[in-house]
Symmetry: C2
Subunit: 209 residues, 2 copies
Amino acid sequence: MVPGKLDLGFPTGLPTFALRQNPFMKKKIQPWPVIETEKLGHLKLFDCEVQKVRNPYSGALLDITLLTGNDSVNVVAVNSDDKAILINQYRFGIGAYIAELPGGMVDDGEDHLQAAKRELMEETGYEATEWHYLGCVASNPVFMDSYVHHYLALNATPTGQQNLEPAEDIELLEIPVDELKEMLSRGKFLHPHTVSGVLRSLIQLNRLT
Amino acid sequence: MVPGKLDLGFPTGLPTFALRQNPFMKKKIQPWPVIETEKLGHLKLFDCEVQKVRNPYSGALLDITLLTGNDSVNVVAVNSDDKAILINQYRFGIGAYIAELPGGMVDDGEDHLQAAKRELMEETGYEATEWHYLGCVASNPVFMDSYVHHYLALNATPTGQQNLEPAEDIELLEIPVDELKEMLSRGKFLHPHTVSGVLRSLIQLNRLT
């Protein structure tokens, strides 16, 4: 079922290639020095700071805003009926309930896979016996320093109870894997990290085409 | 070349379905009332505020952080050699140069399509004769109120000069459309909005399978 032939380019589970020389760059990369950092405070999901940075090519000094925080994870959990367990969740940013993958932030000191298993249980009450790491995307590389790591979890079964935080209201959805592809194609997912996680799962399952 | 049969579910170009009753929800949606809003200030790319919100089901009061700002756009521009014009750009969030789509924020009062054309010109020096709107994703529905709108631009040709801001250092990339699919499949794009824009363009071009 899982061909396992996907070369994600992240053998260690970390997005190291972004931090090395970009293989697509023609010119030699110079670092952009950070001249000064001002902490602006804690905003629940992240800390906020402003950095004064020098453009190494033009010499221009500029202020950039940076949100620093923990990585997060999301999970495509598939049950024995070939259905994926998704959730309808209220999202404050856009003030709407949207269909998306279960997931959330990695706790301090927590392993990414452990976080994926915990979030799946807390948000859906499901466990799974077979876990595949599918690489990551940056949360938002423009102004966030964190990454979102994608997992595929097979043989998912309901073994527990949802354990929601006060900010969460979550309804479960069972969506046939083939319909995931349809939803992806029709642009039905509004959460970009769900787009990325669903896409990689369909590739890993050989179900995209 | 462009079948135009893609039903994105956004006939007006706006993501209205998220703001209506979520068609996947079984229970009746109750609004989450905002009790209080505290403006925290302007952070260059967005304004920041904290809202006190009531969970309509449990009654719990909670503070959420919200970043409010303009929508943005990104563009898959394809030239007559069937190559897409991408960019290597320095991203402060992760401190690395990554391959991604040209794009940026919509200016106040600017039309989305106009912003897409402007950003393509400023960042790459290219114009295109045929533009297709491909729908949108939320920037990050968890804590941002804005959307990223995707465009496909055909018959792209270099007609001008890059016009970069001090925070920008951009190198052009010409990538065959078939290689875009390969890069998407191998998880080579770290910017989630590039993943979403490239995916929709390949679907629109019937080049995903």
